[in-house]
Symmetry: C2
Subunit: 309 residues, 2 copies
């Protein structure tokens, strides 16, 4: 079972209350693939970079065993660049600069060798492009989609057409409310699941995540982190851990979706410890296992024992 990841490969300029970096590897496809690479291979990336993309960064991806046949190198321009500054509480950020560069004309072409991908991760790009990717894949077992308020507001029709072809949608709470028109998240989930995705994950940042499947609702905690250094890429990292675990295990049961949510949350909790994907590039399987166990301890509700009614 191969994983296909489509999204942006970029450079980020990041300022947080704890430091500043002018230019660091970023982009949704980058975070998703680096993360998923801990769980499964082959891992196939589709994206575009410009003439300024450094060999050093290409090598970081290669070192994670990521198949780069689908990474276009467009020598006509520079790599997508985003610059932002996080506020004191790290929950909000201001975009200081966005240069789409070669990403503006990104036209995802799926190489022949990718076409039998089984787990497809559609990172946050235009819904029309996400659909175009699906047109090129033969028989995916699981399609996972990320999107954002920008597309909910600006490309709603395209988004609804794409949602109809998707198994799992991953969005945050304000996006879920906007997409459904429902303030109550349980009702919002019902409406969104009627739009296509059987499974919905609502990310709530420092409050964890909710998983809605046919059978049940699962409330996953967030890992209590003392020093959140840089939240950039945490959402994509969540998707990478989630998809990676499902591809690794090949089990799409409710229980295993829960495990996938915890692996996603665990990977995201590492991601925020350093700038960009730095922490993700230096993980060990033992650390991942340990954090999974820490999540279980964190959320463990003891059985009712004595003194019940």
């Amino acid at each position: 079972m191969s994983i296909l990841v489509v999204g942006s490969v970029a450079y980020d300029g990041i300022e947080t209350p704890f430091g500043k970096v002018d230019r660091i590897l970023g982009g949704s496809a980058t975070f998703i693939s680096i993360t998923a690479s801990y769980f499964h291979s082959p891992l196939q990336l589709v994206g575009v970079v410009g003439h300024d993309f450094a060999d050093e960064d290409l090598n970081k991806l290669k070192a994670r065993n990521i198949d780069l046949e689908g990474l276009q190198i467009d020598s006509s321009g520079k790599t997508f660049f985003w610059q932002g500054r996080y506020h004191f509480d790290l929950n909000n950020r201001d975009t200081l600069d966005t240069q789409l560069n070669v990403f503006e004309k990104f036209d995802p072409v799926i190489p022949d060798s990718y076409q039998n991908a089984k787990v497809v991760c559609l990172g946050n790009i235009a819904p029309a492009l996400q659909s175009k990717v699906l047109d090129q894949i033969e028989t995916p077992d699981l399609v996972i989609l990320d999107t954002m308020n920008f597309w909910i507001e600006g490309a709603r029709q395209d988004l609804e057409a794409t949602l109809n072809r998707v198994d799992v949608l991953i969005i945050n709470d304000s996006e879920a409310r906007e997409l459904s028109g429902e303030p109550n998240l349980v009702k919002a989930a019902d409406r969104i699941r009627e739009m296509g995705p059987d499974t919905l994950i609502i990310k709530k940042g420092e409050h964890g995540a909710l998983l809605f499947t046919n059978g049940s609702i699962f409330s996953a905690p967030a890992f209590p982190i003392v020093d959140i250094f840089d939240p950039t890429g945490a959402g994509d990292t969540f998707l990478g851990g989630f998809a990676g675990w499902l591809a690794r295990s090949g089990d799409f049961s409710d229980d295993n979706f829960r495990r996938a949510v915890i692996y996603g949350s665990a990977m995201a909790s590492f991601c925020v410890e350093k700038f960009g994907p730095e922490r993700l590039l230096a993980l060990t399987p033992a650390e991942i296992n340990e954090r999974y166990t820490a999540f279980r301890t964190l959320a463990e509700i003891p059985v009712q024992r004595d003194h019940t009614f």
Copy 2:
């Protein structure tokens, strides 16, 4: 082991997106004692009401087996009255009217028969009054305190003196940040626990609650409620379920504190289903047990099984 509850007994006028009630039984001591009465007796209430307090409402408390020797009836004025309107999302409310009435001169006097109370619940009143209550109790096993931003801002010195005498503090996330001066809740919890309480519970409304003890952090989910009708009293109800379970079991271990948080959350999830304490007055033990189990299912993280690293 007896439970002592000190706080307000009031009438509330409530408007939510789903309905309106002009005058219904309310107040922190009311919600705490009705809730705790499902878990343990004797349950001793200390509060004050005015000449307008209805026999019908007294009888509701008596029917729950609540000892009212400490409920002063001050015929010089009317009962504390609060009126508020909730916004569409139910997370915010506007206070439309506050008439302190006899509550303005409330001077808690603990009857002789209450003085060996073992679990003491100090509802949200002036910290100086909370201290005054503690002066009158011989050897409490567990003192639980609720407070709010009004006292954090306006009576900080009194509050710090009281906190020093308390075992468990229950506040919400914005109050925790304000009290500690720390945006990060893990750091906030460390600072607050240095002020006195060994155990801290941070309530996060629709996002659940965090329990900080010496040994661990516990993240409790919120119950996903489709129809939140009226949030009034949910925080006091949490305290009542928490304290009630601890008094019932007499076990102050970390694991049992977790159970107490879930019982508190379960009771609060019932509270919001109807106006005021209506739903709480009509519960069955079977319903409480069932909801506890539903919380366990909601938060259950499966063990890592196959395919681990």
